[in-house]
């Protein structure tokens, strides 16, 4: 589904990603771990199309098509979804109106009619229930005055509504207490199928107890330096990252 080949990217004179290779097949969960500043969030933003970063080399293929030159909205239309580490507050636009706009804009790009209002309402209700979201929450302004946990839960609600092919969760666990973490993870697991894939970016192994990865990758200085099965995450939790550095030397 997603093939990243020798991806190099950065801002102005600074290189952040120094040749990333990553293959994600349908039905898989990949975890990307790594110390602060290793380039995890940049990788997520580059795949989603943030214009601030310049891709200097390599390809990002989604189902065989290079998407590295596409606008962020075009990537979204093709099924890429990024759950933000720091979601933006949009006063005056309710959660419901925002998701309606997002879904209908995506449908329009795919040559489909707007989703009928009844179907939309039903879907909103179903996904809100799945993530244990209070109905009142949906008529609040998007992310405005939301707690850290509410913001993250709202991101996963959007994920559930948009049903992307590829979901990238950028530090979704930060700011969540254990109960909220379980609800969010349970939501992600329910949405998981053989046709879609998830990339989980995290500092801690904790989230991976609930969203169990098929592969764990370690990102350091903008490169994937080690990959392994889910057990690798436990090892990183226990031993930190220094031993990998030493291994590399």
């Amino acid at each position: 589904m997603l093939k990243i080949k020798n991806l190099r990217a950065g801002v102005e004179d600074k290189d952040i990603l120094n040749g990333i290779d990553l293959h994600v097949s349908p039905g898989e969960v990949h975890a990307i771990m790594g110390p602060n500043g290793s380039g995890k969030s940049t990788l997520a933003a580059v795949v989603a199309g943030k214009e601030e970063f310049e891709v200097t080399e390599g390809e990002v293929l989604l189902d065989g098509e290079d998407i590295s030159e596409l606008d962020p909205e075009e990537r979204a239309h093709k099924g890429v979804f990024l759950s933000f580490q720091y979601p933006v507050e949009i006063p005056g636009v309710t959660v419901t109106n925002f998701i309606k706009t997002a879904i209908n804009e995506t449908r329009k790009a795919q040559g489909m009619e707007d989703m009928p209002a009844g179907e939309m309402l039903k879907k909103i209700k179903e996904k809100a229930d799945l993530l244990e979201i209070d109905r009142k929450f949906l008529s609040r302004s998007l992310n405005e005055g939301f707690s850290g946990g509410e913001k993250k839960r709202n991101e996963i609600f959007q994920l559930a509504m948009m049903e992307p092919k590829l979901a990238i969760l950028d530090e979704t666990d930060s700011g969540l207490d254990i109960d909220a973490l379980k609800v969010v993870a349970n939501g992600v697991n329910k949405l998981k199928s053989d046709d879609n894939a998830v990339i989980v970016i995290t500092h801690y192994q904790r989230l991976l107890d609930y969203i169990v990865p098929d592969y764990v990758h370690v990102l350091m200085d903008g490169k994937i330096v080690k990959s392994g099965p889910k057990e690798l995450a436990y090892e990183l939790e226990k031993r930190g990252y220094d031993w990998i550095k030493e291994e590399l030397v």
């Binding site: 199309g49 909205e73 979204a76 006063p91 005056g92 636009v93 925002f98 706009t101």
Partner: protein, 437 residues
Amino acid sequence: MSLKDKLLSSFIAFEDYLEDDSPIHDVRNEAIKHFEEKGFPTKKEEAWKYTSLRTLLKEDYSLTPYKESVVEFKDVKKYFLHEVDTYKVVFVDGVYSSFLSQTTHDKLDVCLLSAAFSKDKYKSVIETYFNKVAKSESLTSLNTAFAKEGAYIFVPNHVESDKPIEIINFSTGNEAAAMLQPRNLIVVGENAHVQIIERHQSLSGNAVLTNAVTEIFAEKRAHLDYYKIQNDQHTASLLDHTYIHQERDSICKVHTFSFGGKLTRNNLNFYQNGEHCDSVLKGITILEDNQHVDHNTLVHHISPNCESHQDYKGIFDDKSTGVFNGKVLVEKEAQKIDAFQQNNNILISDKATINAKPQLEIFADDVKCSHGCTIGQLDEDAMFYLRSRGIGKKEARALLMYAFANNVLESVKIPELKKRINKLIANKIGVSLGFDL
């Protein structure tokens, strides 16, 4: 002949034409003398530094009197808040249109200033209020000199107007260029409530220059909500002067929505003459092309324990220019007041300009005054967030601009008006968003 000379010579004819015993004869003569002395303001004056009237004054405007024009309701319906029942005071080319208006003398007076001038029963009101809060400023004096027609609204003590009042000035473009000088007088009695919507609307592409003065008196515990809708043709200019005198415990709110027009100058002045007054000044300005809007506000805190809140948002595209000059003057006696001023601007184009100048003059020592002013572009992170959800660049921009202006709309009390303004904003931004406006 310069416009000033033309006005001065036409004043003689104008005075002759009016009846000799006009109660405001002396006031008019004083005013024209003042205008003759001062002339039109120029950029040399601090308060007019960023707004030049030069080009406007070059037009050969036709002054009074006007030919009477017929305007069909169906042609102008869209300019009324027709979804709700309202009182209406409508003028076409400066002349009262009884056909388009809906006035009352039932519980309150919603009628004409010319009627108030001519009838004995209004004499004491005119003597008490007319030209009492308007200041000696050259354009205001010019209006006073020619003051003849406008809306006269008198809400007696303890009366709550049962419907909003619309004041609309249409200009038909029968003349190649026309100058209008409407004059409104509004008195809101003790504990009385009223909502007023004001609009100036040109119906053609011909040049119009309106020099308007509105005097408002809010007695004790009075509530006033005043909405100015400025969405005129790009050939129409407006010089507006609104003076509000507040007595104790009164609440006066003025919302100014500036979307249209060629050049608009809003002089909005509040005078707090009793304790516990609340003054609210809010505005949304969205401009394009070569449009120019200048908000010149004054809140004069004369009494203690009062509040004032100013919140102006501006979005400027193309070569449009905006000015925000917000003055808060706190007298020595005005202790324990709370004055807040906020002005946020977004420049969409490299060629758009905003000149923002907050001015705080504080002579009291125990007050709370705050002001904030920002000028920026749309937030890139917010744009990426919206676009990553499949929302195109244009819609994402519109959504952010909508969100930016939104909190000013929250305090609009008439739901139909709020909806209308919402739509105007969406149209102005140029997209119809897929959510309920």
